[in-house]
Amino acid sequence: MSVAVAQYAALSRRSLLTTVRQPRAIIPPILFPLMFMALSSAAFDRTTQLPGFPQSESFLQFLICATIVQGALFASIASGSDMAHDIEEGFFDRLVASPVSRTSILVGRVFGSFVFGFFQAWFYFAVGLLFGLTVEGGLIGMFGVSLVAAMFAAGVASIASAFAIRTGSSEAVLGAFPLLFSLMFISGNFFPRSLMEGWFKTAATINPLTHMVEGMRAQVITGLDLGEWMSAFVIAAGFFVVGITLATMALKRRLAVAA
């Protein structure tokens, strides 16, 4: 294993470890989407019979992908806030004062979120299956959805890291949270676009998250669909490209004061 790979792996591992070892930080982002999923599947189950509602067996089947994306969003913002914490506490200085490659500082963090997002998706599927969820795309469908979720988690983590590196304040990162949160709600993630009207429908249609979740949802509701999966993955990758670019710029800027 080359030195660089070992460094990337070690920093990803550390990022994951520090996430997993903070029960207070890890339980809410996992549980909140889960509670939301439980409540709304019970409350809105009969809406699936409304004319115009996408063909789905249950509201749970409709909702599961939105829950996965919401979970990834929460966890990755927490990871970005950890990055800011590293800057506040001086761990970032320890990294910068060592000959480790500058990009591994960022990549380690973002890859940690990728891995976390992947397994978090499987966790939600497992809970859903316990409560009678059927996934038309089967194991491959779930794998595909998890991959999109992981990519999206990496994207959000890099956007949050950009914030973290730019401001050096974990509060600022958490403060940016409502912005992404509203993006999540003004979408077709929690309710089908076919039943929306007016400006909300327009906003939801513009929102890339709508299309990402719809692409994921197709794997669950209708079965394997490579075209839908591709569009979901491309959107997630788009978040990642934007995020990693912003984060790299922020890192360059911060390191410019260093030698």
Partner: protein, 330 residues
Amino acid sequence: MEANQGHVVAQGLVRRFGSIEAVAGIDLEVAPGEIFGFLGPNGAGKSTTIRMLTTLLKPTAGRAWVAGHDVVEDPDAVRRSIGVALQDAAIDPLMTGRELLRLQAILHGLPRSTSADRSQFLLEMVGLTAAADRRVGTYSGGMRRRLDLALSLIHEPAVLFLDEPTTGLDPNSRFALWDEIRKLNREGGTTVFLTTQYMEEADELAGRVAIIDEGRIVAEGTPDKLKARVGVPTLQVTIGHGQDAIGAESILMRFGEPAPASPGAIAVRLEGGASGMAAVVRALDEGKVQVEGLELHMPTLDDVFQEATGRRLEGAEPTTEPQPQETTPR
């Protein structure tokens, strides 16, 4: 070991933050194998200097070389040659001591086989074997500093930078850390560059001391030479309230030059040494001056600081040193 491996040189080093000049032109040279103490109050520019020497901050002007490498031109070579333990022991509380050592080893590109042995060796050296697999969050302040020291030594650096290694430690932990640093320097020949706001620490540890105030070096030399420069002991006399201060002062000045004193007291440098104290007391008694307190001070590095700056080091008013990590880089 190459001739310049443990060498630290700075020439006209300047760092400005906006309009504030945190470091205002510093020249210094530390020889390989030396323990060099950088003594000054809070906000004097110690941390800013150490951040420039460890490549964490770019100098506004001037140049510096560490272990023969230019800190701006070749920062990676500098980083490979130095160990750094910064002020607020930057240690992740969620990881164990051993995990952090292994991570540090990987950051420095040590092979896996070496890193396990090296980690164990360092844990033993700083006396943390029993706590090695506990999370750092459960460590005491002294344990954290010792771990931080071990972390900075993982790659056997030629130069070790310690930024206020014992600030906030209790005396026992402080003495233990001093022993480690001495041993390291004696046995491994590691050059040690340490900053401190404690004159006692500089006096005890450092072979050579530079005193820094408001971004400039105001005095430099071995602790003994510096103290000898201030010279003779000082006698400080506190007189009773409502006493004739001017009269008392004129009596005291017969015995030597005036020295800066605490409020409500008069101090004199005893030209005749400490044995001249009896004569002073007699003269004050004859002059009917009511004395409330008498203190004899042998010269300390604090006196050297006061001589150079007119202020005392211990309890000096901290001025705010800009902390680069908290400012938005422009």
